[in-house]
């Protein structure tokens, strides 16, 4: 099956500390999924299970039917690209272009293919102006797009973004939003961890909520944000418009501004 599947997965660190308990999740080809939850809820360890950096202590993780237990992370990386939370952990080369090309040379692709992939990745992330700079001199919020471009160039069917919205301005958020649309058109799956609830409402229909090491809900953004139990247990917030609607006691599980305005027109 073309999907990432987590089947009853529990993960504990070598010191015995349990980080994830009984995760069950299927992410199909072309799907776009947001993962939300408090700091420490187990989001990052969960996505590391998907690319083989973490191997389940019990249960199984299948990527396109292949069990990650019997594979090295490098083998899984042909299917799952992972953009780390901190871009500095992923940067090695002396300029941005070399950084993006590094793996493509390692994979021994021909020059034409390398150029095609680099220009696509650069266009999607809007980093044309930084290609010849040292990655460490690129502003921090843009440096995140450098690592995204690097992973995009690998052209994997699944891409994981770990808190890409942190510290982004309006332009950065728009770039991310366009990127998600483009990847969906190309049939790629994107799994995004984020604390930005407006971004979730605007860009995702499927939201996985985590709390206390477990997945507590896997539902639409609307149902997630309008479930009292989920909001309380995962300690997340509705988008501001949703809060306004709730506090006014308006019906219709509103999360978007245009919905609220439509409703108010009737009065």
């Amino acid at each position: 099956m073309e999907a990432i599947e987590l089947k009853n997965v529990t993960f504990a660190y070598p010191d015995g500390h349990v980080a994830n308990e009984e995760l069950n999740l299927v992410i199909r080809k072309g799907e776009r999924v947001a993962i939300v939850g408090q700091n420490g809820a187990g989001k990052t360890t969960a996505v590391k299970l998907m690319n083989g950096l973490n191997k389940p202590t019990s249960g199984d993780v299948l990527v396109n039917g292949i069990n990650t237990k019997n594979q090295t992370t490098a083998q899984i990386s042909a299917y799952v690209g992972y953009v780390f939370q901190n871009p500095d952990d992923q940067i090695f080369n002396s300029n941005v272009q070399k950084e993006i090309e590094y793996m493509l040379h390692y994979l021994k692709l021909d020059q034409q293919e390398i150029e095609r992939r680099v220009s696509r990745a650069v266009e999607l992330t809007g980093i044309e102006g930084y290609l010849h700079m040292n990655p460490f001199d690129v502003p921090y919020s843009i440096r995140r797009f450098v690592t995204i471009a690097m992973v995009l160039a690998l052209e994997t069917p699944y891409i994981i973004l770990d808190e890409p919205t942190a510290g982004q301005d309006l332009i950065g958020i728009k770039t991310l939003s366009n990127l998600l649309d483009r990847l969906q058109e190309e049939g790629k799956s994107v799994i995004t961890i984020t604390h930005d609830m407006e971004f979730v409402a605007d860009n995702f229909t499927r939201v996985v909520t985590m709390a206390n090491k477990r997945i507590i809900s896997d539902d639409s953004a609307r149902n997630t944000f309008w479930s009292k139990e989920i909001i309380t247990e995962a300690r997340i917030k509705k988008p501001q418009i949703g809060e306004v609607a709730e506090e006014l006691g308006l019906k219709g599980n509103i999360i978007f501004r245009h919905e609220l305005v439509e409703l108010l027109k009737k009065y």
């Binding site: 942190a166 501001q240 418009i241 306004v244 501004r257 305005v261 009065y267």
Partner: protein, 282 residues
């Protein structure tokens, strides 16, 4: 009373061509909460370094114009005194942990030790800050082994413990979940109520709308807009600069289109709620 005054201030870092800040004029008053916003690369962090006196004491480069801190030119301030006068919390939680203390409690105490605070008072102040920031469960842990979000809260506590009059805070919540973010804002507001002057760089515009007294918008190294929060954050032209506006502001504009009776623009949740209630007649 003015706490920091900027007169025609321009600055560029050493060995660079372009000015990062240009022609900045502003009078910051004591006890106010200033929100500093602007697209990335607009000079916000440099602005913080200027307010904190890191420019010119730590970063050299070309500084022109006058920076007056409590009426005295920043160049004439003793930089060691400035560090106790103005607290500074920045983005990266990893570099803010000292690396020489083995428990969070001792980490928070470090600044006070350096200030020569006697032990009994020192312990009391650390306990107070631990309660304020709800760090009770972390006090025995090794600060070097905490997560990014936890480190940021410890860094915050460490600076607050030092009780400086002015606080410069550069994107303290970018690593934090919504709940911790709200808590941090509540604490910043509490500090303002204690009479401290706050400078906060932040992308989370809803919270700036909620708490800041005045907002400065930086764009390409210049002050593009400034003034009372309600005035600045109801300016739609900010969107063109790449600055987000609160959802409440946008909603308020939408409401105005369907209801001519609405003549003011709201910027916070509770204001826009009141406007809707009036229309709906609840």
């Amino acid at each position: 009373m003015n706490c920091i005054t900027l007169k025609d201030v321009s600055y560029k870092y050493p060995y660079t061509e372009d000015f990062v800040l240009a022609n900045i004029n502003y009078q910051f008053e004591k006890g106010k909460f200033y929100g500093i916003i602007g697209p990335n690369g607009s000079g916000k962090t440099t602005f913080c370094n200027l307010l904190r006196g890191m420019i010119p004491h730590f970063f050299h480069g070309d500084l022109s114009g006058d920076v007056l801190i409590e009426g005295q030119d920043v160049r004439d301030w003793n930089s060691d005194l400035l560090s106790t006068k103005i607290g500074y919390i920045f983005q990266n939680p990893f570099t803010q942990i000292s690396g020489i203390k083995e428990t969070v409690f001792e980490e928070i105490a470090l600044g006070l030790e350096n200030l020569g605070v006697e032990k009994e008072e020192l312990i009391e102040r650390v306990v107070e800050v631990v309660k304020l920031l709800k760090l009770e469960k972390l006090i025995k842990k090794n600060p070097n082994n905490l997560s990014g979000g936890q480190k940021q809260r410890v860094a915050f506590a460490s600076i607050i413990a030092m009780n400086s009059d002015i606080l410069v805070i550069d994107e303290p919540t970018s690593q934090l979940d919504p709940e911790s973010t709200d808590e941090i804002f509540k604490i910043i507001n509490l500090l303002k109520e204690q009479g401290k002057t706050i400078f906060l760089v932040e992308h989370k515009i809803d919270l700036i709308a909620e708490y800041a007294d005045e907002v400065i918008v930086l764009n390409q190294g210049q002050i593009a807009r400034s003034g009372l929060t309600a005035d600045v954050l109801s300016d739609l032209s900010l969107l063109q600069m790449g600055v987000t506006l609160p959802q409440a502001t946008l909603l308020s504009y939408d409401l105005q289109k369907i209801d001519k009776a609405i003549d003011t623009i709201s910027i916070t949740k509770s204001q826009v709620k009141d406007q809707i209630m009036k229309r709906v007649g609840v």
